[in-house]
Amino acid sequence: MSLELLPQPTLRTESDYPFCPGCGHGPVLDALNEALVNLELAPHEVVIVSDIGCSGLSDQYFTTSAFHGLHGRSITYATGIKLIRPDLTVVVIMGDGGTGIGGAHLLSAARRNIGITVLVLNNFNFGMTGGQHSTTTPEGFLTPTTPAGNLEHPLDICATVGVNGAAYSYRGTSFDDDLPDRIAEGITTAGFAILDVWDLCTAYFVRNNKFSRRQIDSTMEALGLESGVLYRNDRPEFASAYRKLAEGQHPGLRVKTVESAAPVLLDTRRHLVVAGSAGGRVRSAARLVSLAAMRSGWWSAQRDDYPITVKSGHSVSEVIISPDEIHYSGVDKPDVLVVVSDDGLGKSGPYLESMDSGGVVYAAAGLDLPRTEAKVVTVDPASAETRIPSASLALAMVASAIHHTGLVSFESFEATAGEGSFGDKNLELVAVGTSLATS
């Protein structure tokens, strides 16, 4: 009888780690391997997403799937993977450098509570590029970029994600015996888990600061930081919650066509500009003209212009109606310009300048119009039997202009205005508009 040793299960490759003697990364990766083995995960069920830096070399020493991306962005790739395949175990391995440059991703992943596990190999400096200080370098410590001592306060990774919704956060060191269990705990936690593991960079941080295992502990104490599982938040995991929320949602996109129900002859292209104020329903009044033109069998285009503060300032809509397809959507010279308010007048200068005696301006009474070669028609809103609210004046004035000029078929305009849930209200305004006194 012979004794055969069964091979120990492992997700490690046969290659030795490339890390410096005494570097803490190797022991942490061994702990990760032990955790994955204990969880009985197969290589293809695990995706290790590695960041950049010494920690970024890690994925090459595992037999699992691996994604080696850009510096600080590993959490974003991991999120994309998890969103598509929530069943995969996605582990991010990053350094303290990655938590700094990718800080926004760290925060957002915690807030989303996306079900990935982030292992931070935190050795307080950029080990791959020469030992420069990072977001976790404690105050006073020496690095090549803080030659007189670091002035910045170190980032408390666990508290940052912990108060922002992460399901699990743990702080420990590469010397902790229970690290495999804690990593397994993070992985089996449904939401976002982070393990901030402090370790030694023997190439730089140890050398520059006579730093040691003992000083890891004393530094933690001096900063008033604790170790162990520090924060737990019982919140739904994002990828599952998203799918659950998606049930019962309906697509909003559909093709809604306008029928040329009442074809009318049009000889040439026409341009209308409606210039008013934000909140004055300028765009919807202009849109009725565009749709009315389509109802008449014409082509139309509409360009709306308004400031980014959408509820204040001007609102200008340019409408082109055409017997043939419109390939150029600029309005260089309006045939009809409707000026509803002072805000609109402020944007009408170039239009008024371009218009000649063939053009017509419909201006609300009381506006101080500059000289123009166009015919000016003053529309008096006060002549209406009931007061026209400012949010309705654009439609009333457009109705007046269309009624008088025949820019589009008035019948098509009326039919279009009467459609939809605002139809009755619109038709009232159209009637008011056509009755307004003009001079």
Binding site: L88, S260, L265, M294, Q302, Y328, G330, D332, H403, T405
Partner: protein, 397 residues
């Protein structure tokens, strides 16, 4: 001038119904952003991530509204970097992905565009161009990113960029972008602009020409003895993609890598890899090249344009021909790689080429490179105003 202002205060002038009752026509009143979204969904896009930015935000909002109900995932990232990062992760896990932004956001995509090139990731990136530089003017149109998309990441390696010039082409070329992304495993840009994306237009729905988007060529996920992730021989070949989540582990890297995606600096391997990244695209120009050539054998002038400015060019050509001017026009739909044979062919016999674009003459330099012996006039505008048909008509009279 259609308005009879003599009667302008008297009453309706146009009530005459067309004597020949045409067949009833159905047209949609919509914009390029909507057409891009529709194209993406029809192409099978099931993952979108983006960050709000004018004038690309409507695409973000429509995708996030429509994807969940279709079984897809739509994310608003914490920034553009996260958005494209999520897309890349999702693409390598089997999703058809798209993101959309404008110039400022494209700047933040830059490093990940390089990674998508290096890792050979199929991804569609919509650039709704606005006037720059910097924040520029968010609601002002421009075509200033045409060189930026080509050279916007370190290394100088090729990408593919398509430029629709109508709303219907926004639909068709977005679908085409997905097809090319699958075919070549690389970032494919859809170059729209504020005017095309947000100006509402009546559109004949029959003009939405669907594209047959090929299925992703993947290594069988059940294959327990798969080929290596990457292969560079012959250099122009694109090999099936290996996705996360199958029955074997898969490796991906943004570093120079060997066939198994392990980091290497060995010159023979790195040289083969980078040669492959170039030649898989440049050797297949014929599969990518798309132009609309409206040529007149007797033309002395050839107009060249793309995107929204091609619309002005079309109207200028109609006006010029109506006067008896012989003129040719070339709309370039595939900006990158430059469709050189199509440009050279269109320029045969002309003595002058006019290139119209809303930037400081950025694509003109490509035309100058392709046509070194022809007089080339650049009509370039950077004041946020469209080049008008009149402006072009003046030049070709």
């Amino acid at each position: 001038m259609p308005v009879d202002w003599e009667t302008a205060t008297r009453g309706p002038t146009i009530t005459e119904t067309a004597s020949i009752q045409r067949e009833t026509i159905q047209r949609e009143f919509t914009d390029g952003a909507t057409a891009i979204v529709r194209g993406a969904l029809d192409a099978g896009c099931d993952f979108f991530a983006g960050y709000p930015i004018t004038p690309a935000s409507p695409i973000l909002m429509m995708m996030l509204r429509d994807l969940p109900a279709r079984g897809g995932v739509g994310m608003q990232g914490e920034d553009e970097i996260a958005s494209i990062g999520m897309c890349i992760g999702a693409a390598m896990t089997g999703a058809r992905v798209m993101t959309a932004s404008a110039g400022p956001g494209l700047s933040l995509y830059s490093e990940n565009i390089g990674m998508a090139i290096m890792g050979e990731v199929p991804i569609v990136i919509v650039d709704v161009q606005r006037l720059g530089p910097s924040t520029g003017a968010a609601t002002t149109t421009a075509q200033g990113d045409v060189q930026f998309v080509r050279w916007g990441t370190a290394g100088g390696f090729p990408i593919i960029a398509l430029a629709p010039s109508t709303v219907a082409e926004c639909y068709t070329l977005t679908m085409k972008a997905f097809d090319l992304a699958e075919r070549f495993r690389c970032p494919v840009f859809v170059m729209a602009d504020k005017e095309l994306a947000l100006t509402m237009r009546s559109v004949d729905p029959s003009r939405y020409m669907p594209v047959d988007v090929r299925d992703r060529d993947v290594v069988d996920p059940a294959d327990t003895n798969p080929p290596p992730e990457y292969r560079y021989d012959p250099p122009e070949d694109v090999v099936p993609i290996q996705l996360f989540g199958g029955s074997h582990p898969v490796r991906f890297t943004g570093s120079t890598h060997d066939q198994q995606a392990f980091i290497t600096k060995k010159p023979s391997i790195v040289g083969a890899l980078n040669d492959h990244l170039i030649r898989k695209i440049t050797d297949h120009l014929d599969e990518i090249s798309m132009v609309d050539a409206d040529l007149d054998d007797a033309a002395e002038t050839l107009l060249i344009s793309y995107g929204v400015t091609a619309g002005s060019m079309r109207e200028a050509v109609v006006a010029a021909r109506a006067e008896g001017t012989r003129v040719s026009a070339l709309t370039i739909h595939s900006l990158w790689p430059v469709p050189e044979p199509a440009i050279m062919s269109a320029a045969i016999g002309v003595s002058r080429v006019v290139v119209a674009e809303l930037n400081p003459g950025l694509y003109t330099r490509e035309i100058e490179r392709v046509l070194p012996h022809v007089e080339i006039l650049s009509i370039a505008r950077t004041d946020g105003v469209l080049i008008s048909p009149d402006q072009l008509h003046e030049v070709i009279k």
